[in-house]
């Protein structure tokens, strides 16, 4: 029964993935990709990876979807959104088929990996959720560099701004009627979303959740509030927003150096301090992740002026 369910789910995932690659029109492709992300999130839940399911639904489907739809809107204004129908491309099909077949072969041919036994290490990590323990303690190095990668991507996005637009608010202007449905939605959602985002971070220590999932919820709340006209989009030059961007990496780096100073080693948390240290890092990281993700999706400052 459960294998039948997984088979149907995977057929759906493949079908929707195919639909996002075939056919005409990038708008349609973006919509299919959002649906695809939600189905993959169900797949992760079926695999028992609930943290990944949340991240996929929130980031892989939700934020990426907003990003793609906003990009389509911008390209349509620039008259670059139209797409010609492409013919079947045999060399590309051979390449894709070859890659797929070699991965399939690898699955059956390679030995089954052995998961490391964390039963002894986990009680020293300070948190009960093994995924959070890996992210913020055992492999904290990865997460530190990742938070810096996020910042680098945002700086890269900002580089695309034209000089004349540099002082403009980030992203395109949204025109929501002050008494319209979107404005009411933008007023109702933030209180609930803020509580839920903070809850996800807090819950992530022991059960499903974490800084990335919670931060994404907060970023989404901010985006909805900006689209609804409740909140003004930030500007590049505003110091408070810049401080929020670097807060997480700075606290993370600082606690890593503190670990080195205490003699435990860089990014190594002493067992007694692990739980408060992880919660502090996660809180700071959540703020930075939320702001960085929201600004990444908003895009560079754009006064809405096009050359065409």
């Amino acid at each position: 029964m459960s294998a039948a369910l997984d088979l149907a789910l995977c057929a759906l995932i493949l079908g929707v993935g195919l639909a996002s690659m075939a056919g005409r029109g990038v708008f349609r492709a973006a919509i299919f990709f959002i649906t695809y992300g939600l189905l993959v999130a169900i797949g992760w839940a079926r695999l028992g990876a609930y943290d990944v399911a949340l991240a996929e639904a929130a980031i892989g489907s939700g934020l990426t979807g907003v990003l793609l739809l906003a990009a389509h809107g911008r390209l349509r204004r620039l008259r670059a959104a139209a797409e010609s129908l492409s013919r079947f491309n045999l060399p590309a099909a051979i390449a894709g088929g070859g890659v797929a077949l070699s991965f399939g072969w690898a699955w059956f041919a390679l030995p089954v990996p052995r998961a490391p036994d964390l039963t002894y290490a986990l009680p020293q990590a300070g948190v009960g959720n093994p995924v959070t323990a890996v992210l913020l303690n055992f492999r904290a190095w990865d997460t530190l560099v990742e938070s810096i990668v996020l910042l680098a991507a945002l700086i890269g996005v900002w580089m695309m701004a034209r000089d004349a637009d540099w002082d403009a608010p980030l992203g395109l202007r949204y025109h929501a009627r002050p008494s319209g449905v979107l404005a009411s939605f933008g007023r109702i959602l933030p209180p609930v979303g803020l509580i839920f985002g903070v809850y996800l971070v807090w819950a992530g220590a022991e059960s499903t959740g974490g800084a990335f999932q919670g931060g994404t919820v907060l970023a989404a709340v901010g985006l909805v509030a900006m689209m609804a006209g409740i909140m003004r989009p930030p500007r590049v030059a505003q110091g408070a927003w810049r401080a929020a961007l670097v807060l997480g990496p700075v606290v993370f780096l600082g606690s890593g150096l503190a670990g080195a100073a205490l003699g435990a080693g860089f990014l190594t948390l002493p067992e007694a301090l692990a739980k408060p240290a992880i919660l502090t890092i996660e809180a700071a990281l959540t703020v930075s992740i939320a702001v960085t993700l929201a600004l990444l999706v908003l895009g560079p400052p754009d006064e809405g002026g096009q050359q065409a």
Partner: protein, 94 residues
């Protein structure tokens, strides 16, 4: 008893979802499609949430389920309004 209620409620929820999906595919224009989606699917979601509610073990789970349902309802209604407004301003696009 609780299982029976779950079966009946989720099954009838699925019927509404199928009806809504058929409407989405078969109806000719944006407004009638929205009609099918918002009405049939919201009712279907409510029935499924009601069915799952019989399986909850704690009040917290029930509260979260209710929250999910209310938020989905709110989002669906808002999005339907926005899509309809966008469709009004560009009548040619299907």
């Amino acid at each position: 008893m609780a299982d029976l209620a779950t079966y009946i409620l989720t099954a009838s929820g699925l019927v509404f979802f199928i009806a809504g999906t058929v409407g989405l595919i078969r109806f000719p224009d944006t407004f009638s499609r929205l009609h099918a989606l918002t009405k049939a699917d919201n009712l279907g979601l409510g029935l499924i949430a009601g069915g799952v509610a019989f399986q909850t073990e704690t009040w917290a789970q029930l509260a979260m389920l209710t929250l999910i349902w209310v938020l989905a309802l709110l989002a669906a209604g808002t999005v339907a309004q926005l899509v309809a407004r966008a469709a009004l301003s560009t009548p040619e696009q299907k």
